[in-house]
Each structure stands twice: as structure tokens, then as C-alpha cells.
């Protein structure tokens, strides 16, 4: 069923009894051309683009829980394309372009809100770095504006401009950046893939990957064995366990990143704002809750919850930047499992096993990447050639040292990102 104004009017007048389920709930078939392990944002978008762009529809997405139950439902929904380094910049630029047409593409309201993302700087050095980054973003073809302190104040007057410890020297604004509705992205891609013939199989955990003579043959699951010509691993924080079934050790450590939401408030924060002198960034959801987060807890974790010291740090940073937030009450906090790579950039690549593909290492930036990750991974699986926007996301870059993408400039080493 396509969504349109007439449908909504008709369903509204007839008691909303005519809505059908958005996707089928099929039994797994004994064999597929392609099996995708992981039914999150990246797995579902990959399935969608395989079917839509490459005409491959004999595909199963295997999800051990429910669709979109992992990180795509546990993030802070920021969409942006303000990366600096070659390799990352064209990828996220491609992703933002896909975001801007996503609602029309999927006939699904993903609530993309291009409200602008503002990064604040608090020293001369930081401002110089922002000017350089802004120029790189503009050269890439995206938008960036360097704001003076007065410019920042005109835009967001409620920050603390009087304090001496972390004075606001300006900001880098990307107006096309913003936020989107996290679940809707997963649901939209799921519905789109299902309509094109992809089988979305939930409650189906992969327990083994069958490999014969260096080529993949299929997978073992809790719902029986499934043969497949190609198998793609796209399991985010759980990538290490999935890859271990294929005898691989990945350059990935799984960490916890916490996020928070307050009670619903009247509209007060119209942008996405990130503090430059502590780990804190914030936006306001359409429901009114202030959604904010900080940095990793910095110890390996699969617990999907963090500890109090990082909560304290985030709250301190929030109070430093915008004291008005002290009146808001925090409703919930949660954690996601981040698949951290040594250089902080992702991996979309083939493996040494024929027909086995890998998509992982999204660190704490996977949400904005969902459309381009799916598009580029689908291209790789379908053609065996990397998509031009993701050609640098190679698995072997750590071994060779060539093409590392360390945005923070801290070194390509675990525990530094």
C-alpha cells in the first residue's frame, strides 16, 4: 500500500481498519542468491539497493531479534556531511544526497529535518581547524559556514557567552545537516525491500557460516541451514562474533556509547549543537525531548548501558554550555554497542573468502551513513567492485598503513577514538 494524502483521509474516515502490515513475515527458503546477516539500518538499506538498483531479489535478511532493534533504534539521529578527510568526505556527501531524496524514494516519512548542525570552537587553534575543515567541505561540494561569535549568538542566544573558562570563539554551521526519525529509516527500507521481493526473516540467529574450499556456501541458523551463493556480514557491534564464525579476527573493539533524553519540552533548541570543549552534543526531538550524548565510556562492552562517570561528564558539559538545561529532567539514558576500528572509520570490503563480504566499523557514526552504506555495500556485493564513494573503506588499510582515515588525528590505534 502506498502512502498518500488520499489514503490517510480514506483510512481516517473508515476507522483506520484498512491498514495492512508493512512487510511479510516469510519462512526461510532453503536457498538464496544472497544472505545478509543483520537486519538493522545498514542491512535493510543494503537489501533495498540490491533489489532496486541491481535487480537482485532472491535475497534474505536474517535478523536474530527484530528489525531495527539494534543501533538504528539506539542512536541520537544526527545526519551530517561535515567530514574532512578524502575518503570520508565523499562518502558522507553521497549519504546526505541520498537522505535528501529518501522520503520520495521510499514513499515513507523518515522525518528528515535539515535544521542545521553547529559545531562550536573555543580557541584560536580550533577556529583555524574549523576554517580548514569548512573549506574542505565546500570543496567537496557540500555547505559549511564559519560563524563569528556574534553570528553564533544571533543563531543560538541561549548559550552561556559570559563564562571565561570556555569562551565561544565561533562555530562551523552546516545548514543541510539535521536529524531524522531513527525507526522510520529502518522501517522505510524494510518496507521497500519487502515490496521488491526480499525476505526479511526475524528471530533467526546465524550460528555458523559454511565455507568450502575458500568459498562461502551458506549459513547455519536457529531456523535451519540456508544455502547461499553470497553472504554479507553487516552486524555492527556484533561483527566480531559473526566474523569469528568465518574464522576471521577483525580490527574492531566493541565499546559503549551513552545517550540521554529529557522529558518533553516546548520547542527551544532549533539546531543540532556540539560543544567543542567537552563531549556533549544536543538536539530536540519532534516530541520535545532534548536528546543528547557524549563520548565513549572507553572500555569494551556489550552491555548496552554505561557507567556513571561518563554520565556526570556529559551533564557537566551540558551545564557549562547551556545552563538553562539544568531545569530539564532526564527521562532515560541508554547505551549502544559501537564497533570501533583503530582509525575511527568504517570498513566496506570483500574478505579472503570468496563470496563473503564485510560491512562494519561504523564506530559512533553509523546512523547518518545508513543510505550510502547500503548503496555502496549493495554495489560491492552485486558487482564485486567497490563503489567509488566507498573505495577507501578497505579492510587491509591497517595492515598496510596505506589510506588510514583518522579524522581526529590521534593515531590509528584502538582506544584512541
Amino acid at each position: 500500500m502506498r502512502f498518500n494524502a488520499l489514503q490517510i483521509l480514506k483510512q481516517g474516515l473508515t476507522g483506520n481498519r484498512g491498514w495492512a502490515p508493512q512487510w511479510r513475515n516469510p519462512e526461510p527458503k532453503p536457498e538464496y542468491d544472497i544472505v545478509l546477516i543483520g537486519g538493522g539500518g545498514h542491512g535493510l538499506s543494503t537489501a533495498y539497493y540490491l533489489a532496486k538498483k541491481h535487480g537482485l531479489t532472491n535475497i534474505a535478511v536474517l535478523e536474530k531479534g527484530y528489525l531495527g532493534g539494534g543501533n538504528v533504534g539506539r542512536n541520537t539521529t544526527i545526519v551530517r556531511a561535515n567530514y574532512f578527510l578524502e575518503g570520508n568526505s565523499q562518502f558522507y556527501s553521497h549519504s546526505l544526497g541520498l537522505w535528501e531524496n529518501l522520503e520520495q524514494e521510499l514513499n515513507y516519512n523518515v522525518m528528515l529535518s535539515q535544521r542545521g548542525q553547529l559545531m562550536l570552537c573555543h580557541s584560536d587553534g580550533q577556529r583555524d581547524a574549523f576554517a580548514r575543515r569548512g573549506n574542505a567541505i565546500v570543496n567537496q561540494g557540500d555547505d559549511a559556514e564559519l560563524l563569528s561569535p556574534e553570528g553564533v549568538r544571533a543563531l543560538v542566544p541561549y548559550l552561556d557567552y559570559e563564562q571565561l573558562r570556555f569562551p565561544i570563539y565561533g562555530g562551523l554551521l552546516q545548514r543541510r545537516a539535521g536529524s531524522a526519525r531513527h525507526d522510520a529509516v529502518a522501517w522505510g527500507y524494510a518496507r521497500g525491500a519487502d515490496r521488491l521481493g526480499v525476505d526479511l526473516i526475524q528471530q533467526c540467529e546465524v550460528t555458523g557460516i559454511d565455507i568450502e574450499n575458500g568459498a562461502v556456501r551458506g549459513v547455519q541458523t536457529t531456523r535451519g541451514s540456508i544455502r547461499a551463493k553470497k553472504v554479507a556480514m553487516v552486524a555492527a557491534g556484533r561483527s566480531g562474533q559473526v566474523a569469528a564464525m568465518a574464522g576471521m579476527r577483525l580490527p574492531v573493539e566493541s565499546h559503549v556509547l551513552q545517550a540521554f533524553v529529557t522529558e518533553g519540552l516546548k520547542p527551544c533548541i532549533d539546531h543540532v549543537i556540539s560543544f567543542g570543549m567537552g563531549h556533549f552534543y544536543i538536539s530536540q526531538s519532534d516530541k520535545g525531548g532534548l536528546v543528547f550524548g557524549g563520548d565513549l565510556d572507553f572500555y569494551p562492552s556489550y552491555a548496552q548501558r554505561g557507567n556513571l562517570p561518563m554520565k556526570e561528564h556529559v551533564m557537566e558539559a551540558a551545564m557549562t554550555l547551556m545552563p538553562m538545561i539544568g531545569k530539564a529532567r532526564v527521562l532515560r539514558s541508554w547505551g549502544g554497542i559501537m564497533d570501533m576500528t583503530p582509525d575511527g572509520s568504517p570498513i566496506i570490503d570483500r574478505t579472503d573468502t570468496k563470496g563473503l563480504y564485510l560491512n562494519c566499523g561504523w564506530c559512533y557514526g553509523g546512523f547518518k551513513a545508513v543510505p550510502a552504506s547500503g548503496d555502496c555495500f549493495a554495489h560491492l556485493i552485486a558487482t564485486d567492485q567497490p563503489h567509488e564513494a566507498a573505495s577507501r573503506y578497505r579492510l587491509d588499510r591497517f595492515k598496510t598503513g596505506y589510506g588510514l582515515m583518522d579524522e581526529e588525528g590521534t593515531g590509528a590505534q584502538h582506544n584512541l577514538h
Binding site: 580490527p251 574492531v252 569494551p300 562492552s301 552491555a303 562517570p309 583503530p342 591497517f398
Partner: protein, 87 residues
């Protein structure tokens, strides 16, 4: 999360920093081949469950510790001095 340092007793998480898997103690020999170094520096078992990790008591006695910790629950199962572990 509290960690019981063998020298200082039970202390707050904030006194410690973590470097990663305790496999970092098993540094390849001089002249080892590239794949061995790559494995040591980059690749990880990344276990979901009990995991041996290398922690540093930076806000305390300065000892390096091998902490066995469940990564799915954050329960600290065992703490030893890294100097004893290595020999």
C-alpha cells in the same frame, strides 16, 4: 564499576584507564613478520563475555593490571598484577 586493585583495594572506575585486550602483553618477537604485527596491533577477539583486559591504575599506585571482566554485564571477575601475569 569498581575495580579491586591488588595493591590499593577496591577503587572507583575513575581512577583507572584501560588500554585494551590483555593479549597486548604478548608482544611479537623482534623481527616478527608483518601479519603477526598486524594481528597484535589491530585485530581483536573482541569477546562478548569474560575478557582479560589491560588496565592502568593511573589515579592510584600506577600498577598495570590484568582485569578479567564480563563485557556483557561489566562484572569484574578477577584482578591480577600484569607483572605477575607476564612471567
Amino acid at each position: 564499576m569498581r575495580i579491586t586493585c591488588p595493591l590499593c583495594g577496591a577503587r572507583d572506575l575513575r581512577e583507572f584507564s584501560v588500554t585494551g585486550s590483555a593479549a597486548l602483553l604478548n608482544r611479537p618477537e623482534e623481527g616478527a613478520e608483518l601479519p603477526e604485527w598486524d594481528d597484535y596491533l589491530h585485530n581483536r577477539d573482541n569477546p562478548a563475555g569474560p575478557s582479560d583486559e589491560l588496565w592502568y591504575h593511573s589515579g592510584g599506585c600506577g600498577a598495570w593490571l590484568v582485569v578479567r571482566r564480563d563485557t556483557t554485564s561489566h562484572a569484574v571477575l578477577d584482578v591480577r598484577l600484569a607483572s605477575e601475569q607476564k612471567t
